[in-house]
Subunit: 188 residues, 2 copies
């Protein structure tokens, strides 16, 4: 699949994208581990990757590269890089976040990867596309399949696709601590 | 200021919020360090904090508490916790992200803080509200002003407010590496 970067920002594409307003997407985003076989469009993939590319990072270091995989056989093989990575096999697309191996454990890189991950997941949620992130256990397999340079490592993978069951929609009662427990006004 | 949590999800409030679609908010988000003196509404603060509360985290650990500050004098004093924190003084609101002191340096906590930060910044951007994050240098001062328990630490602060100059709008040419440099299709 060729990523059509020129589709980004195309008003016609945006108008046709059935895009959620931001707070709806925030409320609708959830981890999805079982995907149906509906493919994603190039516009959707472009916007998700563009969301990652635009993410802020410490001193604008942009410590990441993104390898996007949509080939069915490659996705199946990639799902073996982590014992909890089965969701990758059935995804419409999976994005590998690759960083310099020597920096991967740095706090600021991890913080920035969290920012990029959230931005991509929310860009997906706006289309009704679910996501799930996966750690990497078998780094040799990941490197063989994704072919990144020796001084890089795959920090995590994010799978994307339409949920096989319940479509993405704003969640009214998320499984989270109560608002008044988490939020303190003025002082703790 | 009292946070009106009951305003969250109010359809009338949402309809009045002039909320951007998700990809517009992603393109419009930027660091803003100079704020005008226009206050933020309770609905806006609620949605930003709710975006943080809903963020995903490792094993749903939700390692954070949020202390939201809107008092002008307290903001001015809080701005001294970091040499680069002057933007806090002029913000309409600043949220302190507080975590267990012994976990603050863990990769997964930093990753999760990145996710929560991005979600809050995008929720703000959807209203045209800019944001900027700040590190904490003077932890004693932060603790004195925010009164969190001894076993907690303030990991970062995020200030929010309307930009004093150029309003938030989708950025066409962000200061980032080119898309085709960052994104690899199939393999590196």
């Amino acid at each position: 699949m060729v990523i059509r970067h020129d589709a980004i920002g195309d008003p016609a594409a945006a108008a046709n994208s059935d895009h959620m307003i931001t707070f709806e997407a925030i409320k609708a985003r959830r981890n999805v581990r079982e995907y149906d076989n509906r493919p994603m469009t190039n516009v959707q993939l472009d916007q998700i990757l563009e969301a990652g590319r635009r993410s802020p990072s410490s001193q604008n270091s942009q410590p990441w590269d993104f390898v996007v995989v949509t080939d069915e056989d490659q996705l199946r093989r990639l799902s073996a890089v982590w014992f909890g990575g089965a969701h990758i096999a059935g995804s419409a697309a999976t994005v590998a976040l690759v960083v310099a191996a020597e920096d991967a454990a740095r706090s600021r890189v991890q913080f920035d990867l969290g920012q990029a991950t959230m931005s991509m997941m929310l860009a997906a949620a706006a289309f009704g596309v679910g996501s799930c992130h996966s750690a990497v256990g078998d780094h040799e397999l990941a490197r063989e399949l994704l072919a990144y340079p020796a001084d890089k490592t795959c920090a995590l993978l994010i799978s994307f696709g339409y949920p096989v069951a319940r479509p993405l929609a704003p969640i009214h009662e998320p499984d989270r601590r109560p608002f008044d427990d988490v939020v303190h006004c003025g002082r703790w």
